[in-house]
Symmetry: C2
Subunit: 143 residues, 2 copies
């Protein structure tokens, strides 16, 4: 049984983030990739939509410049023939402030010929913003 | 081919939210269900973790009391034998303020004997909070 594209991509992504070794990752991204991490782009410019390998590699470089992955746990995972989705919990360190950030993330990925062709990432953004600010935002009770 | 449990559950859930007809939904939830919608529980008490059918039905009632679903679009979906995951975009109306809320949601579901046994929901929470407040939260540019 061949290894699922998700595992190869995941190893290359974490190697890119941890060691800034980006070559493996670059080989696993489709030239025509469609990519989006939904979230407040005003606060983190590496969030948002990107198209094409060069733009996605630049995002990965920016993420590597800003956070260190301390550990991650895959809480749910679904694998299709050329697709995958996971819910993950990341423990990060923000490199500028040395602040720990613990974050839940869901991704939906599609692969073409073993390369990542589409990625959609949803983040628990309010949690992210509060941790990045380092202080809670006061919220009224609405319901 | 039997219909996937996700479709039956999804119809029952939306009927519960739209028409407050909760009986169909109740029949499709495992007594021992494990459920979590991650998000700011201080602002919305129906967010957070729940265990057991009664607690989950109460959450669904609270959501029905607070929002109306205008429409939803399933952007990505993955189906396993007894599991499913989707990324969805919801257009809601907050019933207290009559305010429109547009929201991206990811869910990971597991079914047992056709009933929902586990549900994990991730929401673009910062987007939700800003829309529920009705005004943007000023954010510094961090990266």
């Amino acid at each position: 049984m061949t290894e699922h594209s998700l595992w190869r991509f995941s190893r290359a992504l974490h190697r890119a983030l941890d060691e800034r070794h980006l070559d493996d990752l670059e080989n696993l991204i489709d030239d025509d990739i469609d990519w989006a991490i939904y979230g407040p782009v005003d606060m983190f410019t590496f969030l948002g939509a990107r198209h094409g390998k060069a733009a996605v590699m630049e995002v990965c470089r920016q993420i590597a410049d800003n956070v260190q992955v301390r550990r991650f746990e895959r809480e749910s995972v679904m694998l299709g023939e050329n697709s995958a989705a996971s819910m993950m919990r990341y423990s990060l360190t923000a490199l500028d402030s040395n602040r720990p950030i613990s974050l839940r993330v869901a991704h939906f990925a599609r692969f073409r010929d073993g390369r990542l062709a589409s990625m959609r990432v949803l983040v628990d953004t309010f949690d992210l913003v509060e941790q990045a600010l380092g202080s809670p935002i006061h919220l009224p009770k609405i319901a």
